[in-house]
């Protein structure tokens, strides 16, 4: 772990600047390390991704925070998970609602589906996306549709009745 942590710390200091990141590494009893890097600036994502590319890393997946979290906090939290020969580096950042984040598709082609999913399900704006067409939903449905529609699970799950009616009433108020 110490070697990976030292390597990442050195590389990130050079590319992003020590003052703009926080890095933490944890290694489990099988010797597998997970590294957690938090970026203070959105523009540092690309240099981080370039570092991973230079280290022969791979983009595993990207996580966006839940819609509720985004609404409450006014920011989307994005976590980019990279594989470094079995170890995992997670680079996370806060993206204010409406702001753009750089596309990683020029560096990692498999970012394509992840980013298209974000644009579609979370209405996150991606700058420089090479293939910005819809992935999961029909073209006739507007962006961020899951923010506005009632999910089927909420509609049919009796346990969610309260949530459902709260949503309907809130929507009605918004409409007025």
């Amino acid at each position: 772990m110490k070697e990976l942590q030292a390597l990442l710390q050195r590389e990130l200091d050079e590319r992003v600047g020590e003052q703009n990141i926080s890095l933490e590494c944890r290694t489990n009893r099988k010797g597998v390390t997970t590294a957690w890097c938090r970026l203070k600036r959105i523009e540092d994502l690309l240099p981080c991704a370039q570092m991973v590319k230079a280290l022969s890393g791979r983009l595993s997946t990207i996580t966006a925070s839940s819609r509720e979290h985004a609404r409450e906090s006014g920011t989307h939290e994005l976590a980019y998970h990279f594989d470094l020969d079995g170890d995992t580096l997670t680079v996370s950042l806060l993206l204010p609602l409406g702001a753009e984040v750089d596309s990683l598709t020029p560096l990692f082609r498999n970012a394509d589906w992840n980013e298209r999913e974000f644009m579609e399900l979370y209405d996150i704006k991606i700058r420089g996306c090479l293939n910005p067409k819809r992935l999961f939903l029909d073209e006739s449905i507007a962006p961020g549709v899951l923010d506005r529609l009632i999910p089927f699970s909420a509609l049919v799950n009796a346990a969610s009745t309260k949530t459902l009616w709260e949503r309907i009433l809130a929507n009605r108020e918004e409409g007025q």
Partner: protein
């Protein structure tokens, strides 16, 4: 004169009995390009997990997919155990391997059986499925179910093998190994399989790396990445096995990797029966799960499965995200198909062993 036209395939197709939509550009009989449209059965399960407690989620996640159903709850439990600081008992580590590898044998045999069906070799299809049926019986006997094993709990497993069941499992492994050996030989030498699968749907190693492919699809192109070796979990670090790779990157190479991985899985099962220590199968009472975040990875039958879990001190996930191997492997299809014939489409699609159920989480 060559005319290019679009050929819609799906969402329901005989070789792909799950909804996914393709647009294929063809020039005469030759494939020029491919576009994939997903989303027909997106179920929003990630959202559902945030409305259920950790224990309920084990059951829910087992239903993301049937063929790799055990990989989802296993990986979720691994992530949760990291946050809760739980080390599962040594016996449970081996039992988790037994559940996973039993599923792998069945899943891989199913895929190569379908290949035989697509090329019209239905006696081979039935022979492989008959062999697979032994492993289905194993699952039913040990776990009480043929697909969803309900093997996992937070801190370990929910099943154990007494002397009688160990002996039964050992006997079934001994039955299956020579049968899979014969299947392996058939896929290596049979003219029907070779003439249809060799040199078809080729994917280079550099493309596999560029697209971040995983599992037998990547290994069939020579990418030597297997989570069980690169990021060991459960008891894999105590077991002796080699990562299987192919070099041709074609439909045949991917099928051979799957057959060999079924053989490795059977060997791992045998090793587990020999090396599994006595002891508890689950950690004691579930401690309070603190706020935290964790990454867990496992090698599902189709490749790397990764889970990201965030907790906030409650008994429900604050965020749970997973990425299945099929998610990237779809993107290989346009490269694999270009220049091949329309008649090869079902075989190439089958060769990535796509899981729409997983993709449409």
């Amino acid at each position: 004169m060559t005319t290019t036209y679009k050929l819609p395939v799906g969402p329901l197709h005989v070789a792909l009995e799950e909804p996914m939509y393709f647009k294929i550009d063809v020039q005469g009989e030759t494939i020029a390009g491919l576009d994939i449209t997903a989303g027909h059965v997106h179920r929003g399960i990630e959202y559902l997990t945030m409305n259920r407690n950790f224990i309920q989620n084990i059951t829910l996640l087992e239903r993301v997919c049937s063929l790799c159903s055990n990989s989802h709850p296993t990986t979720f439990c691994m992530a949760l155990e990291q946050i809760a600081g739980i080390d599962i008992p040594p016996r449970a580590e081996f039992l988790r391997v037994i559940a996973d590898e039993t599923k792998r044998v069945s899943s891989n045999l199913f895929n190569v059986a379908i290949l035989a069906h697509i090329v019209g070799f239905d006696t081979l299809f039935m022979h492989v499925m008959e062999t697979r049926e032994i492993m289905q019986d194993v699952k039913e006997t040990i776990f009480g179910n043929r697909m969803d094993l309900a093997a996992n709990c937070i801190g370990g497993v929910r099943f154990d093998l007494d002397t009688e069941r160990k002996s039964y499992l050992g006997a079934q492994i001994d039955r299956v190994i020579p049968l899979v050996g014969k299947i392996h030989k058939l896929y290596l030498t049979d003219r029907t399989i070779l003439s249809r699968a060799r040199g078809v749907g080729v994917l280079s190693k550099s493309d596999a790396l560029e697209l971040a492919l995983v599992g037998p699809v990547a290994r069939g192109s020579g990418v030597e990445y297997d989570v069980r070796k690169k990021a060991p979990y459960a008891a894999y670090d105590q077991l002796d096995f080699e990562v299987v790779t192919g070099s041709d990157g074609d439909v045949w190479s991917r099928a051979l990797v799957r057959i060999q991985e079924a053989e490795v899985a059977l060997d791992l099962l045998r090793q587990c029966l020999q090396k599994m220590p006595e002891g508890p199968i689950c950690a004691s009472l579930l401690p309070e799960v603190p706020a935290g975040e964790a990454i867990a990875k496992s090698e599902a039958p189709r490749g790397e499965l990764i889970y990201y879990l965030r907790t906030n001190g409650s008994d429900r996930p604050a965020r749970l995200k997973w990425r299945v191997p099929s998610y990237m492997n779809w993107s290989a299809l346009p490269l694999m198909m270009k220049g091949n014939k329309i008649g090869d489409i079902p075989m190439i699609v089958n060769s990535i062993d796509p899981c729409i159920s997983c993709t449409e989480r």
